[in-house]
């Protein structure tokens, strides 16, 4: 990155925060309206957390893994193998050790029965945890903080304002601390020279000055906001998001599919019970329809990305 570009990026408040996201690949789904992004994640996370059905969980987990690797590349794969997988193994192993319910006894561990049902439950709990963590990883890279603020600015204006101000303040403070440090260097109190104790003391001074400045500056900001009419009725907010026909079409399709899944869950077409004996719905046609609908919803962003890649490659090959 060139120096000029770097300076520009530093000045842009969000960039210092999203530095770890810059490696993420752009997803087609990001281009859709924030409402769609948010509802999608709400659906997948809620179904994953609240309904421990083995098939639905497996679909959800597989889709989340595929999409997070597509978004994050090798970094996401490393995260999955180093962090998520061990966590899931612990969850699978932990449940049968502490939970002895269930009628199918497989063996005894220190006089405590190990049951098939509790192992199955452990596997499902592991899929749930792994799935939710991976979904949240996708969420972080797709739902930027300004999208969140756009959606919730009207529901919770004060909290949204605090969040967006915070995101702006952090890079600003870093910059100001740099200015204070160089001014102090001019006075002979250099942060980067002298013994350790001297450096810590000088660093503490810089921090102290910065915090006092931050609080003073905050009151100035507040007065400026007030004189520009903050909190008065009839004020509008700028937004760059537009709900177009493409968003409407995808929303309609996703709504129809998720409704089918929800109806199957509430009517009991898709059901499961772990204790005392594991039971699950038979693989009937209506159940299969529900599985397919859930799979299509979960995989849709990944499929959109893969489709885009395909179109891009075929266009390149034609040139």
């Amino acid at each position: 990155m060139s120096e000029k570009n770097k300076a520009y990026r530093m000045a842009d408040g969000y960039d210092a925060l999203s530095a770890n996201e810059s490696a993420e690949r752009w997803s087609v789904f990001e281009g859709f309206h924030p409402l769609l992004n948010y509802l999608y994640f709400a659906y997948v996370v809620i179904v994953t957390v609240f309904f421990l059905h083995p098939v639905l969980l497996a679909i959800s987990f597989a889709s989340a893994s595929a999409w997070s690797v597509r978004l994050g590349g090798a970094k996401a794969l490393r995260f999955g193998l180093i962090f998520v997988l061990p966590l899931m193994l612990v969850a699978t192993a932990l449940n049968p050790v502490f939970n002895h319910e269930g009628v199918t006894i497989l063996g005894y561990l220190m006089d405590n029965p190990i049951t098939l049902e509790s192992i199955l439950y452990g596997v499902c709990a592991a899929l749930m945890i792994g799935g939710v963590i991976l979904w949240f990883r996708c969420y972080t890279s797709v739902m930027s903080s300004d999208k969140f603020i756009y959606l919730f600015g009207r529901v919770a204006p004060a909290a949204s304002l605090i969040i967006s101000m915070t995101l702006r303040f952090i890079p600003r403070y870093v910059e100001q601390a740099g200015r204070i440090a160089s001014a102090r260097r001019g006075l002979g109190f250099d942060v980067s020279s002298g013994g350790f104790a001297q450096r810590v003391k000088n660093g503490g001074e810089v921090l102290s000055i910065m915090i006092t400045w931050a609080l003073e500056n905050a009151v100035d900001t507040a007065d400026s906001m007030r004189s520009r009419g903050y909190g008065l009725p009839g004020r509008t907010a700028y937004s760059i998001y537009r709900f177009d026909a493409r968003d409407g079409a995808l929303l309609l399709v996703l709504c129809a599919l998720t409704t089918i899944v929800c109806v199957s869950i509430f009517s009991g077409t898709v059901n499961m019970g772990f204790f005392p004996l594991f039971s699950m719905n038979a693989t009937s046609a209506p159940a299969l329809v529900a599985y397919v609908c859930h799979a299509v919803v979960c995989l849709s962003p990944f499929a959109l990305d893969v489709g885009e890649d395909f179109v891009w490659r075929s266009l390149q090959s034609r040139i």
């Binding site: 925060l17 502490f98 949240f136 909290a159 931050a214 003073e216 906001m225």
Partner: protein, 266 residues
């Protein structure tokens, strides 16, 4: 910037206490008392909603909002600055200071929002609501417990460099006595910080982790989880004490100064 609780907040706190048994009842009736993680999540989110409504409902002033944003930004930056020392973080200390200096309601806002915003850097996940709740409640409780303390920490001996001890006693300031009292209060704050970090944050998040892992919450499983989490919680609690010991006085002093200078008092 009010120290006393408004009726709205008391109502909010009561409402959230009613939500919790309701969720537990729903869990027992409809989910056969198995959805621990789902129920826990629902309880946590429901119990934060009343605070959020109370905060939004009273339409906070611009000055209050900006000061809260400054404290959230400092807390998030603090968490980010200590990214390479796991558990050794200034977050709880700064949240406690905010609660004490700005009042219980603002303390809750600083805590919950710090948890939320810092996870944009550290990664959102199923733990976010729990962290938000734990930090928020810590800010709220510190505001309640130390309602009268903030002024007495920041103020001691403001004129000390300019007058000698005898002179200050003659003027009725008695800086040394004030300093001594102040040190005592900071020690009290540190002890409070240790206990609340260990008990509220540590044990609550360990319990949350357990609800993710297992369908059966037994006493043994809880004890095993707490023992496994003990070293982490101890480091976290000790870090809170260390940061409070270093930050409480200068931070309170600065916040008190701004409050006095711009008339942000109650």
């Amino acid at each position: 910037m009010r120290s006393a609780l408004t009726k709205r907040t008391v109502f909010a706190a009561l409402l959230s206490m009613l939500c919790i048994p309701a969720v537990i009842a729903v869990n027992i009736v409809f989910f056969d008392d198995r959805g621990y993680y789902a129920a826990g999540l629902a309880i946590i989110i429901l119990s934060m909603l009343p605070f959020a409504f109370a905060f939004e409902g009273r339409k906070p002033q611009a000055r209050e909002i900006v000061i809260i944003a400054v404290m959230v930004a400092l807390t998030v930056a603090g968490r980010a600055a200590f990214f390479m020392t796991p558990q050794f973080k200034p977050v709880v200390a700064l949240v406690i200071i905010s609660g004490v200096a700005l009042g219980a309601e603002s303390g809750f806002a600083v805590g919950a929002l710090s948890g939320f915003v810092s996870n944009f850097i550290f990664g959102q996940g199923p733990w976010t609501p729990w962290q938000m709740f734990a930090f928020g409640v810590i800010g709220f409780i510190s505001g309640l417990v130390f309602r009268r303390m903030s002024a007495s920490i920041g103020n001691a001996g403001a004129a000390a460099p300019f007058v000698g001890h005898d002179e200050s006693v003659r003027l009725g300031w008695n800086v040394r006595a004030k300093r001594k009292k102040e040190r005592l209060r900071i020690a009290l704050l540190c002890a409070f910080g240790f206990v609340i970090t260990f008990v509220l944050y540590g044990l609550l998040l360990d319990t949350a982790a357990l609800t993710m892992f297992t369908s059966e919450i037994s006493g043994n499983a809880l004890i095993a989880t707490y023992i496994a989490g003990l070293p982490f919680n101890l480091i976290h609690a000790v870090s809170t004490v260390v940061f409070l010991a270093f930050l409480a006085r200068p931070m309170m002093e600065k916040l008190e100064r701004v409050k006095k200078k711009y008339g942000l008092l109650r």
